[in-house]
């Protein structure tokens, strides 16, 4: 009896299993195909978007008024945050480097380690990530909100090219402002790195700088600073793209802001990998 019941259970379950397996397989396949399609669509849309942006950027009229507004919005309003992040980075590098270099008996290299770490990598990447967060979210949410409330349509209906007015100005402002913000982050990082160093062991700022920059030249300083212009291009482009392709209401705006931050941060880090390699090749 028990055997029969067990068989019955197996019999009942038996025919269902292949169906369930087929369903799961097809659902997984459908999900994967959907993901691939979305991924390809995203890049296709980005290509079309970039083409519109290029066309708008190279033809007059140029929206200088909006550009100056964006330079202020992106540059001066990001300055306190970038300066703070740079300062904190300088302190952390100073503390960490002091501990490591003292262990290996290379304490005299401490100023150079701080200076090179800050200007080569930490200043630029911290600036890129902080601006991705603040400006990426801001641009993404602003343009998405304008999109869902038909303000971008209204701009277009007024015979004004929204790519020229909204997108080109923001991207150019990001490209111009990132290197300047990086300089600010570098300066704050170096000053606070010196403060952290001086608190542990008295050292004048002049000594710190002259020792830190000993043997350094412009190729140590300029390429890492100007690579942030590429970060600016990525942040501006991704944030504007996510904002302009928004659909839906408040949910769409939230999604656009989140995606702008996540994708621009991710692409900044990936671009950094490539740019560091290029800088090493061309500025050995």
């Amino acid at each position: 009896m028990i055997h029969q019941e067990a068989t019955a259970v197996v019999d009942v379950g038996g025919p269902r299993l292949p169906g369930l397996r087929t369903f799961l397989t097809s659902a997984r396949a459908g999900f994967s195909l959907g993901m691939i399609r979305e991924f390809l669509e995203w890049f296709g849309d980005l290509g079309v978007f970039v083409w519109h942006v290029i066309c708008a950027a190279v033809t007059p009229p140029f929206e200088f008024r909006e550009l100056f507004r964006q330079l202020d919005e992106i540059g001066s309003k990001s300055f306190p945050l970038v300066a703070l992040a740079g300062a904190a980075t300088g302190v952390v590098i100073s503390l960490e480097a002091r501990y490591s270099l003292t262990r290996f008996g290379a304490k005299s290299l401490l100023p150079a380690a701080i200076v090179f770490s800050v200007i080569h990598e930490m200043g630029p990447i911290m600036t890129g990530l902080v601006v991705s967060g603040r400006v990426g979210a801001g641009i993404g949410a602003e343009l998405a909100s304008m999109k869902v409330t038909e303000q971008i349509d209204a701009i277009e209906a007024s015979a004004v090219n929204p790519y020229r007015l909204l997108v080109v100005t923001r991207i150019v402002a990001c490209i111009l402002m990132l290197p300047l913000l990086t300089l600010a982050a570098d300066a704050c990082g170096l000053v606070m790195g010196w403060v952290a160093q001086a608190l542990a062991e008295p050292l004048s700022f002049h000594q710190f700088i002259s020792s830190g920059f000993k043997g350094a030249n412009f190729s140590d300083f300029l390429p890492p600073t100007f690579k942030t212009a590429v970060f600016g291009l990525i942040i501006g482009l991704i944030a504007c793209f996510q904002g302009m392709r928004t659909r839906g209401g408040a949910e769409g705006v939230g999604r656009a802001a989140t995606n702008s931050v996540v994708l621009s941060s991710l692409f900044v880090i990936l671009a950094d990998v490539v740019l560091v390699k290029i800088i090493i090749i061309f500025f050995p």
Binding site: T149, Q151, A154, A157, S158, A159
Partner: protein, 262 residues
């Protein structure tokens, strides 16, 4: 084919503008995915004429306006503005046509980072660069006075009522002295008194400016008040077109049903 300005000037010089269609929509089709929204629409509007487009929600009335101004592209068919088909035009060429069209959005679509005055000045700032700032300011005041908004020029759009926002949207649509005025649900969401005021305003503007106007609305009373002709959309097509009496006397079941519930 000359520019839209040249064509409009030639028509005006020939004195034929009143009789020919300023806006001509021919066999217009538009679908979104599998949903066919417009399925062969034919409409014409002449100078000084107001056409009201009626229909149930989701019948593509607003889509029709967006196609006319080129915010969306049709699947097939043509939209001719002063005889020029805008369907295949590039973004900057469409811009030349759009300067001649005023568009008032359903929810006004005012720029929320700009004041009321700056919203109305927006088209002037971009297309009347030869005007000085004081001339632009005077023009903005004049336009806002025309729509009954003499006060609150420095207020933000979020600080004014829905009716006031519609008025500001209308003033912005009129800023470049358009030949064609497209109004998307001008009275939707307004109380009866505000609706009536907007209707009166549209009639006044029409009498003064003799534009070719297309008004998309649910409001049969408003349509009857402001329009010379009405077109009722059903299943992506024009079910009937004519004056209000023609609709009333129609034997078409859908038309009778629509009028019964309006």
């Amino acid at each position: 084919m000359g520019t839209i300005d040249q064509i409009a000037m030639e028509l005006a010089a020939a004195g034929t503008e009143g009789s020919v269609a300023v806006v001509a929509v021919e066999d217009l089709h538009k679908s979104f995915g599998s949903q066919q929204v417009l399925n062969g629409i034919n409409l014409t509007v002449s100078r000084g004429e107001t056409l009201a487009v009626l229909g149930r929600s989701g019948t593509g009335k607003s889509v029709l306006l967006r196609l006319i101004i080129g915010l969306q592209k049709p699947d097939s068919g043509s939209v001719r503005i002063h005889g020029q088909n805008i369907a295949g035009l590039a973004l900057d060429r469409i811009g030349e046509v759009r300067v001649k069209i005023g568009f008032s959005f359903q929810y006004a679509a005012l720029y929320d980072s700009l004041t009321v005055a700056e919203n109305v000045a927006f088209p002037l700032r971009h297309h009347r660069r030869e005007m000085s700032k004081s001339e632009q300011a005077d023009r903005v005041k004049q336009l806002l006075a025309e729509v009954g908004m003499e006060k609150g020029l420095e207020k933000m759009p979020s600080d004014i009522s829905g009716g006031m926002r519609k008025r500001v949207g209308l003033a912005r649509a009129l800023a470049l002295d358009p030949d064609i005025l497209l109004l998307d649900e001008p009275t939707a969401g307004l109380d009866p008194i505000s609706s009536s005021e907007i209707d009166d305003l549209i009639l006044k503007l029409q009498a003064e400016r003799h534009m070719a106007s297309i008004v998309v609305t649910h409001d049969l009373h408003s349509a009857k008040t402001i329009a010379n002709r009405l077109a009722l959309l059903n299943e992506g097509k024009v079910a009937i077109e004519g004056n209000f009496e023609a609709l009333q006397n129609s034997g078409i079941e859908f038309v009778r049903e629509f009028l019964k519930h309006s």
